[in-house]
């Protein structure tokens, strides 16, 4: 079973990344990746479950399947670097190190939530963690991230701005405007396109004249690389190189992460626009967590017992977050008209 799987993922479609052999990664890092991705998956599964139980309402977009992207990219960042993304942002908050309890409480709209229950699933912000927001207007975060890059450059720091957006957002006009300006001003901005193959329910090939989104910066002279976004090691390596590129003052760079979301676009999407076989094929052959698990075992870096201990830890963290969210009070009615402007 393992052999067949390995073959399939050794050469993912369109990937120009170094193969597994060429990228060195320490066992400790692999274990970090494993734990982080598992935390995201279990957290999202719990969020989906709570949504189904009516404990979470509104819009809710899960990250299941895409865990390698944010995990690998975040690993390349240092304190002071900044991150901004779209509405599928729970994982980015988790990866930035925000307390899962605050995130789950926000999904449930509770007073103890990260945004005091006023933002919900799509709108969280954590300055201390360098996370500048989940933003729910498709593509709008790209000028914002460009501005964060501008702020780094203006302060003459070597910090880097990472801006995530999806394959759908890649077709928004303001993205092109921002890319031009970032290149013009040589801003330290890493643009990470999370290409999960579907913009809501529309396949990339049905919405983009040129499907290779890594080429979106070409006319501005922004280098682009396509990366196997299901392989956290490849993501980590590509992100580290991109961040280094920015730190050295070489201007913006674009990474297209070829990834896949297992669930629908949102909780209300049954994902009828693709076959069950397509989804299960990716799950079986390219699952980011399974890839790391197998590698750890194969390389003898760990054993089943150790991984099970991590699973148990992660489950406890998620259970605690879910419990915290449910036990938190609703926002006070007096909060309705508070906090719109400074001092009011």
């Amino acid at each position: 079973m393992a052999t067949a799987k390995k073959k399939a993922r050794a050469k993912p479609q369109g990937t120009r990344e170094a193969t597994r052999a060429a990228v060195t990664v320490t066992p400790a890092t692999l274990l970090d990746y494993y734990r982080q991705m598992l935390l995201i998956r279990r957290f999202e599964e719990k969020a989906g479950q709570m949504y189904g139980m009516g404990l979470i309402g509104g819009f809710c977009h899960l990250y299941i399947g895409q865990e390698a992207v944010v995990t690998g990219v975040q690993h390349a960042l240092e304190p002071g670097d900044t991150v901004v993304t779209g509405y599928r942002c729970h994982a980015h908050m988790l990866a930035a190190g925000v307390d899962p309890k605050r995130i789950m409480a926000e999904l449930a709209g509770r007073a103890a939530g990260s945004s005091k229950g006023k933002g919900g699933s799509m709108h969280m912000f954590a300055l201390d963690a360098g996370f500048y927001g989940g933003h729910a207007i498709v593509g709008a975060q790209v000028p914002l991230g460009t501005g964060l890059g501008f702020a780094h450059r203006y302060r003459k720091s070597d910090r880097v701005s990472v801006t995530y957006f999806g394959d759908g957002a890649a077709n928004q006009g303001q993205v092109f405007e921002a890319l031009n300006m970032a290149a013009l001003w040589t801003l330290p901005t890493v643009y990470v396109i999370e290409n999960n193959q579907y913009a809501m329910g529309t396949a990339v090939s049905r919405a983009s004249a040129v499907a290779e989104l890594c080429r979106r910066g070409e006319s501005f002279g922004i280098p682009g690389r396509q990366v196997d976004g299901m392989d956290v090691v490849a993501v980590g390596a590509a992100a580290a190189a991109a961040v280094e590129h920015c730190r050295k003052g070489r201007g913006p760079i674009l990474l297209e992460m070829m990834t896949y979301r297992y669930r629908g676009h949102s909780m209300s999407d049954p994902a009828k626009y693709r076959s069950r076989e397509e989804v299960s094929k990716v799950r079986q052959e390219r699952d980011p967590i399974e890839q790391v698990r197998e590698r750890l075992i194969e390389e003898g870096q760990t054993d089943d017992a150790a991984l099970k201990a991590i699973d148990k830890d992660v489950k406890a963290v998620v259970a605690e977050a879910a419990e915290f969210a449910q036990d938190s009070p609703e926002p006070d009615a007096a909060e309705l008209a508070v906090g719109i402007l400074a001092g009011a």
Binding site: S115, H123, A140, G147, A178
Partner: protein, 337 residues
């Protein structure tokens, strides 16, 4: 007596003084430095109207020419503001909000509330508005009511050189996003302006003329039209109290209500088109809060509900003038309950 400078020079001076005071203040906009980014007169021309003239020579790359990409640079300013800078962006004409409105009303306006108080967005969008320059339908609108509608934005509409300086400095120091609307016909207006920096608080209207018969509430360029009408009416013994709102968000409701309670009559003068504008907003406020004080129905003097025409005669007909204000004031005076 303080020295006299133009409205435009007052804007320039406010920007320069704040940039000197605070290194986090940075300017972005189309053509605001100009030229080729080198030294010399042509490279600090400050755009077609010369409002930011000379700032590039003084502050170098803190004055950023941008591509004609309003979403990108307004959005970048908003993003940079969340990271602690105080960007002042110039949206050349308020009409161009059509290509960057998302960044103002969906992003900047929402952050503080939506993120539970965790984000602060001290950005100023300076923009030129209003009719009178034969600039036609796409460069002449009075769109401040649109911004006023949105919680989370502060909206400033200054009328004089003194006010534009004090209000702009306040805007730059303010910790919320501010839409700063400069009427294009006021740039050459001269007035007394102190040389030192000063601020004018938001939400405090300016009573430019006191009178006991009729309250005229107005803003921007229309303040001068109201004052002209009030001068003419005084010759016939009608005394108008003219209230310059200065800011529409926050709005000084107390000054409006106090005045109407004393005069019992209200004319609202607003250059914006009449549906859902500042005039309708104030009329509703007064009907709800001071109905019993009214001796006559409220009159609104506004532009007609049409796009701004190009032709001189048509545009002059479009813009509210003193004669229309006088007619409205006489009508409320003549009304007998």
């Amino acid at each position: 007596m303080a020295r006299k400078i133009t409205f435009q020079q007052a804007v320039n001076e406010a920007l320069a003084q704040e940039m000197e005071r605070d290194e986090t203040v940075v300017l972005m906009g189309e053509d605001i430095a100009g030229g080729t980014g080198g030294e010399g007169e042509m490279d600090a021309w400050g755009g077609p109207l010369g409002i930011t003239k000379g700032l590039y020579s003084k502050f170098g790359d803190r004055v950023m020419d941008t591509p004609i990409s309003e979403s990108a640079f307004v959005g970048a300013a908003v993003g940079a503001a969340t990271a602690g800078l105080r960007p002042v962006v110039e949206l050349m004409f308020i009409d161009f909000m059509g290509v960057c409105f998302d960044q103002m009303f969906n992003q900047a306006a929402k952050f503080r509330y939506m993120f539970g108080g965790k984000a602060e967005t001290p950005v100023v969008v300076r923009t030129m508005f209003g009719a009178g320059l034969r600039a036609a339908a796409q460069h002449s609108q009075c769109l401040y009511p649109v911004f006023t509608h949105i919680p989370g934005l502060k909206v400033v509409v200054p009328a004089t050189p003194y006010d534009v300086k004090g209000l702009l400095i306040q805007s730059i120091r303010d910790n919320d996003p501010v839409i700063f609307c400069e009427h294009k016909m006021l740039y050459t207006l001269e007035g007394e302006v102190p040389e030192e920096p000063y601020t004018i608080p938001f939400g405090e209207a300016n009573i430019t003329r006191e009178g006991g018969d009729v309250t005229i509430v107005t803003l921007g360029r229309m303040v001068h039209i109201a004052n002209e009408a009030a001068t003419n009416l005084a010759k016939d013994g009608i005394e108008c109290e003219v209230i310059d709102l200065r800011t529409t968000s926050p709005m000084d409701q107390d000054s409006i209500l106090e005045s109407v309670e004393s005069t019992g009559r209200l004319v609202v003068l607003d250059e914006a088109t009449p549906r859902c504008n500042i005039a309708t907003d104030i009329s509703a406020l007064v009907c709800q809060e001071a109905f019993d004080a009214l001796k006559a129905p409220i009159r609104m003097v506004t532009a007609p509900h049409v796009p701004v025409p190009f032709n001189d005669t048509l545009e002059d007909l479009y813009i509210p003038d003193a004669a229309k204000v006088e007619t409205a004031v006489r009508a409320v005076m003549e009304h007998r309950q």
